[in-house]
Symmetry: D2
């Protein structure tokens, strides 16, 4: 089969690999659509290390080709997705509800980011076939009337973005700021709206992203290239600040801006993948006495999560297809990486079809 593999920093290439064997708890799915994530670009650039030869990608849509001997409750030929995070269901972490930090192979059952396996510690989804571990935990059937493209954001972008609002515990009547309106930030905006935020302030400088942010629920747009965003948010809120600030980029600047935008007692919900140490300025932190919280979340996975997200789409609570701006064949994935990693041509997300 064809698979996009990490060759060396700067090179992800399409190679030929054998179709994997199916263990008793696995499922083999034939990929019908997948996409490229910002994290994959970190891998491409060598900023996040993975093994050479690993197949990249963690956002699968496909059809069950073969089920492991111990897998029950599914049938071959079913259309399914699996989350970017594939918890085992049986680690200490899973059993206390912390599915993303799954460490079944550790002595104590926790591993930082352990639930992220596709395209990280095992072969990923940018290929013709994908082996899904712990299939009973991770396969989520797609409702018939939803297209592949309609559910393509569920495995990662939508799950991660929504979790920014969920971990921030957005309540009806909250004012929420979302720092950066890339795919994750846009989904955080949608998530905040779905949870009842009454005023959503989106921080973004790219006009096309500002526009889609408004479509998806932002009430105010703050252009950080023109104003200091925290100051502008304080102005917009009469000096009060926001109840929840969601960071969706992974930079000191957005982290700090989010912190400075909070009301006393507010929550900074961080989604970004950082690549440097962070600084918490003393004044923005009220010397530690402001009843502020900083919470972080790695994309929630598992079939129950996926089913909920597909319901959001099936019942028309949100439509995320506008995020898919470009379409490529798997054969052209190198070109897709090139476009996506340079954010050319207004790209938000690309659909890759084997």
């Amino acid at each position: 089969m064809k698979a996009a593999v990490f060759v060396e920093p700067g090179r992800i290439e399409l190679e030929s690999k054998p179709v994997p064997d199916v263990g008793p708890l696995d499922a083999l799915i034939r990929i019908t659509m997948t996409t490229i994530c910002g994290t994959d670009v970190h891998i491409l650039k060598g900023e996040y290390p993975v093994a050479k030869g690993l197949t990249i990608g963690h956002e699968p849509v496909g059809i069950i080709e073969k089920l492991g001997s111990a897998v029950q409750g599914f049938s071959e030929g079913q259309r399914v997705i699996a989350g970017a995070i594939t918890p085992s269901g049986h680690s200490m972490a899973c059993l206390c509800g912390c599915l993303s930090q799954d460490g079944p192979d550790t002595k104590h059952g926790f591993k930082a980011m352990g639930g992220w396996r596709f395209g990280n510690t095992i072969d990923g989804a940018q290929a013709e076939y994908l082996l899904v571990p712990d299939a009973m935990v991770n396969l989520a059937p797609i409702p018939d009337h939803l297209s592949d493209e309609q559910v393509l954001m569920c495995p990662d972008i939508m799950s991660t973005g929504f979790s920014g609002a969920e971990s921030g515990k957005v309540r009806i009547g909250d004012t929420v700021a979302v720092f950066a309106q890339g795919p994750i930030g846009l989904c955080a905006t949608v998530g905040a709206k779905l949870m009842g935020a009454t005023r959503i302030i989106a921080v973004e400088s790219v006009p096309a992203r500002q526009e889609i942010a408004r479509q998806l629920g932002a009430d105010d747009i703050v252009d950080f290239s023109k104003v200091n965003p925290a100051e502008e948010i304080m102005r917009l809120t009469d000096g009060r600040g926001v109840d929840v600030a969601i960071e969706a980029l992974g930079r000191q600047q957005t982290f700090e801006g989010a912190l400075r935008s909070l009301r006393p007692g507010g929550t900074l919900s961080s989604l970004g993948v950082y690549s440097t140490d962070l600084t918490i300025p003393l004044d923005a932190f009220a010397a530690g006495l402001g009843n502020q919280s900083i919470v972080t979340t790695l994309c929630p996975g598992g079939k129950e999560r996926m089913a909920r997200l597909m319901d959001v789409i099936a019942f028309k609570r949100a439509d995320l297809t506008p995020l898919v701006t470009h379409r490529f064949r798997l054969d052209d994935i190198v070109a897709a990486y090139d476009l996506f990693s340079h954010q050319r041509d207004g790209v938000l997300k690309v659909a890759i079809t084997p």
Copy 2:
């Protein structure tokens, strides 16, 4: 009346002041016992600015001398305490349960640390008399059978320390680390034990404090002067880390140690008053993907809180009198500050009696 006032950095002195007038919502209490807090030492050193001439202190035990005309439900002569934090009860912050960040005089109802008024924005408790604002919110009658010294830790130390465990959401079976075993840290240890932590690891180098930590509930002591505390905690927990790490000092070193001690998905509950920017190391933060939380809490106040804490003592769930190591008359408060600020003679807390 006599009152310990801030004169200038380095000088807190006993001066004579008029007994304050009592407004309709106030109560005047005659102080029968009070104490000195680490925060007062910050004020003394000029590290935390307050107005010259302000009476210092925020931990009152006393007797109601006079009630404001609109105050109901109390009677003169009652023995009472009031919390270090005296919320108004009617700000937006109070009404959403965030009593410590009370801003009744702001446009929007929130103010960072706004609930801390005694010895900060209004005259404090190290005096013969204290005016308690919003008396109906803040006066808490002392059960007859409890002595002044038994309840002296309630207004601040106990409320703050316990909140470290509460904000960390300690659950039955949790492993908890507490960084520093000063008065606040010791109370955090007690709080963690009261909430069901099964293993409490106390980080402390002073032998006397190690000893009292054991008495109050610590199962393991880590001496940071001999080992790297985060590494030792990882060793003690077989590489797992703790569910909750409580920071009770206010330094980068303890903040970082607490962060590095967490299991994936764990919570750093911060109580310390910091005096510098903080750094979050990228690796300790799992690049933002570890489902970690950092929560901060300013001492919970209000009469309901005080009543709960006094119940802890009345029903013998904890005895914090060992924290009172020295006793002074108000007339000798300058000597008390000298002893306390230099942490001489094994001092933990001093009792001051007018």
Copy 3:
């Protein structure tokens, strides 16, 4: 001034009363709009006892006429609402966040339904003037661009209805059933949608109410006059049941239907005012082993709540003006009661204007 007072069971009449005196913590507001609640009909019928001569009504919209001497932060002439529930802000109940069960005049600070004062224990809003107690806790300024009619549902109907979803802890992706689509049930439907319910099943038999339920967010309508609603909900959900069932009528039939509609581990969120003992059928309760919860909520009050609800309207998250189906002058309130209590002419809510 004119006021609608309870004379005896079956009779609420417009009488003349003196304009009340204003105590130090009170505010006098000139009512510009109010409405009649189902609870008022219970009072009218003698099913809920109040003192003879009491002014009825707990849903005030008005203008501040006079402020008590100790009230700060408001000004005469401001347009305001106050919640149906007017907490004191200083009882034990308030200080632990249970504002509706406020008992400042009890020994211990709790009183069942104690926060409901207007038209229950003190004179209410169906009058030319209303005295608002604890004004700093309860007055909420109306944004300039919102009309009286736009905010008329905030004091009770919207706050109560939304609380059905909030107390049920509706999450993104939940399936929610709402039993009865009167004004409260319709607002529960809106609340469930605002919190991210992806499928809302409304139980209602009146076609006009079914229609407005669809407009406000219901995905499915179950007509209990034609099918057994719990069975139909089980059919619609493939035997799973709903995550949250909201009871919004106050009858055994709806309570039991809601319970029978739950999935294992689901929550029955009860809003109705019951007038008989309730039965929990053993089978519907899984003998007590189904991890089900039954939660009840009395309308949340206080200015912070009111501000949040007005934000929902100001930021166009919901428009509840369709609920106001009829308009009367205060002089004609007896006719309004007649129409409303007999639910004639498709009435949902009436607007009463002095």
Copy 4:
């Protein structure tokens, strides 16, 4: 092997059965100790139906004899317990944290009480060998220094009892009533104390149980054979009522007593297995307006839960060995049922050793 099987109502007898085969996800454990539960007595009496020939019992302590081919992370010869509830880890219920209502074989993933398999839907623990399904989810190694008898209460009694306090969300300073001090109620008392309840009122009439309740943490004992317990609890609390009332018997009388003991806004946490419909009296329910909650919990299971409970014992937070009052050999289990079901000789729990 020998096994105690349900023959017909009134008869549980020791029979010979083949040692079960081990599937890929199973583990076979050799039982070294088990016990009899009140639920088993319901089965014996025919009040709870199970298949004839089923082996009874759900509280296993033993040694791993054989692991299924797909089971990793354990080794044969390890001492382990498994919870009374054995979740699969992969159902929709499990993945949303509702492990006890596990329905992996249902279309939607939920089944009322579905997690209870041992001695209910599959062969149980009162035998020489036990087949544990989903072994990676359910096996919990016993710390070396704990004896079988020390951990015998973990699988059910301790987990269930503690969950009464946990589901009731007991907080530091709460007053808690526990209705009935059988093994479950006693563990609820311990759980409430572990979570910081400052005053625990135990309702019990048997002197020996009163005595052990005091030892385990009860502050007050109310003898329902002498006083009306709700009235007495109101008297003890000055008319306030308790924050949390835990029902641990399964009768209308205790359910209603618990409800009548609550303060407004309080929580009734129900653990009992009921055998009749329940009545909620209108007055005790404040007509549905008292912000009361009624929550139910089926024994939490899974290895993470078991590990936490064993930590409670290992770190000496509680010692439940006083609950084991009698010891029998498996050969004498009929006699053990006879003693236990008639509650003769002050029996609390019996230890059964094959």
